[in-house]
Subunit: 581 residues, 2 copies
Amino acid sequence: MYRSHTCGELTASHINTEVTLAGWVQKTRDKGFMIWVDVRDRYGITQLIFDEKRTDTSVFEKAKTLGREFVIQVKGTVIERESKNPNMPTGEIEILVSELNILNEAMLPPFTIEDETDGGEDIRMKYRYLDIRRNPVKNNLLFRHKVSMEVRKYLSDKGFCDIETPYLIKSTPEGARDFVVPSRMNEGQFYALPQSPQTFKQLLMVGGMDKYFQIVKCFRDEDLRADRQPEFTQIDCEMAFVEQEDILDMFEGLTRHLLKEIKGIEVDKFPRITYDYAMKTYGNDKPDIRFEMKFGELNAVAQHKDFGVFNSAELVVGIAAPGCASYTRKEIDALIEWVKRPQIGASGMVYVKCEEDGSFKSSVDKFYDQEDLKKWAEATQAKAGDLILVLSGNADKTRTQLSALRMEVATRLGLRKSDEFAPLWVVDFPLLEWDEESGRYHAMHHPFTSPKPEDIELIETHPGKVRANAYDMVLNGNEIGGGSIRIHDRALQSRMFDLLGFSKEEAQAQFGFLMNAFEFGAPPHGGLAFGLDRLVSILGGQETIRDFIAFPKNNSGRDVMIDAPSKIDTKQLEELHIKLK
Amino acid sequence: MYRSHTCGELTASHINTEVTLAGWVQKTRDKGFMIWVDVRDRYGITQLIFDEKRTDTSVFEKAKTLGREFVIQVKGTVIERESKNPNMPTGEIEILVSELNILNEAMLPPFTIEDETDGGEDIRMKYRYLDIRRNPVKNNLLFRHKVSMEVRKYLSDKGFCDIETPYLIKSTPEGARDFVVPSRMNEGQFYALPQSPQTFKQLLMVGGMDKYFQIVKCFRDEDLRADRQPEFTQIDCEMAFVEQEDILDMFEGLTRHLLKEIKGIEVDKFPRITYDYAMKTYGNDKPDIRFEMKFGELNAVAQHKDFGVFNSAELVVGIAAPGCASYTRKEIDALIEWVKRPQIGASGMVYVKCEEDGSFKSSVDKFYDQEDLKKWAEATQAKAGDLILVLSGNADKTRTQLSALRMEVATRLGLRKSDEFAPLWVVDFPLLEWDEESGRYHAMHHPFTSPKPEDIELIETHPGKVRANAYDMVLNGNEIGGGSIRIHDRALQSRMFDLLGFSKEEAQAQFGFLMNAFEFGAPPHGGLAFGLDRLVSILGGQETIRDFIAFPKNNSGRDVMIDAPSKIDTKQLEELHIKLK
């Protein structure tokens, strides 16, 4: 046994106990006649003391050689500390060391192993194993473990069966780009890594396993934006003999369970809003509802006056920034500059201060009187003390701009609190979205999503108006999960593939196995997948998923620690029947 | 809600309840005026009754159209059955149906969806989703889920942290062949899929996460033998600040927990035998100890007589087949034929019947007297009534042959009972094994395995004699888990790579990240990985792992259901900077 206790558990109740500890040297303080060493492991830090008078000379001398991050094992007696530290669990005691073994020496680490480190992102990625020693990263990994365990427990208790689906599957042209794997045994052929186990979970439903889940890695070979990883983890779920309502209930239950068990927070029944409402009210389909600032459309009250900018706009729309009527000219100018940045792209911004005395002061006072502005305040639900911010222009673009401004203002006001959780469902997504580039409709969710029965008649005539039985769970401005009721009828699935521009042959070649399966008694079914990386980071109150992944890749898809990807042997290429271009 | 109850839960206590059920038509019996339909879901089968007198005509007519595997939803009243079936949980009741919805029709399935099916292996693989509807396959998947959950629960309760390691890693020439993934963003470079998360779990130990586990897919691009899959699942574990003893204790505890929770079986402390003992006593390193038949070496008592075959043999070795002295000449000849088959390759077999009266009757009576044979009986621990079977020749080959014979005899005697579990540890494996083909030593476990400290001095002089701190857990003749204490010292790791024929440059290029990590304070550590597919199949009392995998591949590595691997677009190849040869 290398240790009798961990470095996080000894307290005053252990005084006079003989103990053995092992861990890393966090720091040493050498006073000449007395040496203190903090030894650290996963569980905490314990102070060791080497005393010239009480410690064997050879042990004392050895203690002098200890450097940061040396791995040591010590035996000694728990004694009461002279100067206690009430801020740490082991702060009442220290170990008077009688035996010291250096288990491994350590070079000076390239950054400090402290909660606040001096290491930049790149160096910490390269030495990720050292970064994991730091509390912030270590605690994130432990937190992720806890979330995963709770998810599994909840779903298993509800009768879900964890079923592993294959990783070496078939490449499909639909959706994002696949990672592929050349087959040695099947010359000229390739496996693909799954973007999700979508078709397999549907086949499990056809197979009668009516409640399935899996925490599973998925892969997308897309150009990496900040905080996107080529491999990511899904909590993948599917149920048979259910309607949308059953699924929303089940997974709302799961999320409520997590918030309660992990964060100790009870939340009310999740609000449900339609996609159309979300777009009109928040300008996007994953609204952050920790705060209000709902959009107020102003066309009716702001147009047909003398202000040409608004008159020529497709949409005039505003939000009421709470308590911001007191903003200085400088603060307002900063917001105007912000919306005019190329990333946002607004041409300007109109504002109205709702003064405490009930009067209004705006940047367009020469076009609008107090009565006009009062109507604006009503439309944006502005109260005395609020600042109304108004954008105008093309409807879609303006909503997107105002949505960004809404988030920015909320951030500046400190309304995006990481310890506050406001989940909701967004439902009734469109089935299809028009893709300008390819000049055809794409599935908004995926080609297996069921249209709403009452909209099926619009499929050929007004495809863009067909709503889907599709839903997203949104938490604090992030889509954390999404899913749909699936098509379980071969004819309808076939019609969908037609609509998406597949020829009969392509559809059969790519998804024939699924459509065939539908002919052998497919039950009604649907499901949902959560993005675990994102879910964990939001629950953990942080922004970047990378901090919750043990070994993440950088924005070029590289693992800089192990230096992958890398070149492979010519022999390997030959065996795989491929060559480099 | 599609159903108020499942098809497995209604009993006499529900009589007169109005229920809604959904499921698949298992079978129909149409008596003209009365139609019985068995409806099946994951949970069981419930009998429906349509009665010309009591059922609405339109419903009755619809019931006539039902075919096997149609998906239906019914509403009706639970009534007492006239002819009860005590063999099924729902056998006391039936449902008098008032409403019938056909949710989906079904073509006639290509094989019967019954516990005993008429479908061959190939057709069942192709329509795996139909095979999963059958109880034997469905129950295996539910069983696997239960085992996985128990494993996670046990390890989590013991403080292990489930940490996901990456799937897109770096190819290494050591060990089995990698599956590789061409990188689009890094031209000419490839990721590899992990054969195991070995180096990552070691880096987690360097990172201070002293107890790690993960249930994780691993990949090996090897020619497939029966019952080997290109992707397989490991329960992967690692601990820091431990010695071999700590690891054996921990995972013996896990296995004991599984046997108790899953099978209701309490097992004693696992026997521990050395690799050398296993080879000498059972002729292989994964002995089935559900039965005895230990090897008895007979050189001392069988050589230097007049029997030339034995005199010229390197090894003469026998086993005592219990109670087989009564075997007829024909039965013994069958065994002799069996060992002479090319797969076994023995040139012959000598036998000795240990008669009930204490006398011996052998096939070599003209060379050996009763006193000689008594010594054979002592060496093989044969009792009256046993049949001693003796092989001879080259030591290694003969042991392998006798090991196969031992298993064959045990099978014939019914000693390999699937509901009996005899786990053990095999320890002290050799560090290295000589590879004739490459003319060099290979790591028997892997290059990170620690030699026993007392054997380190033999590394350069007698590499073949160095024992490793490596261990296998064996259950019923199968290696279900294996692991080792790892090297945590850069210099020793470097020496190992030398020994394995790596140049300094190769070692640095392939494993530099790990050796570098060892310089920053690596703790002593070690671990173990279980093969989950195998573990589950043995606990399930079955032979083939394929029956415990939802979507297995065939012996050519193909998924015949989805038809993968397959060709991919030229455009995809171009983006990946590769072309076909």
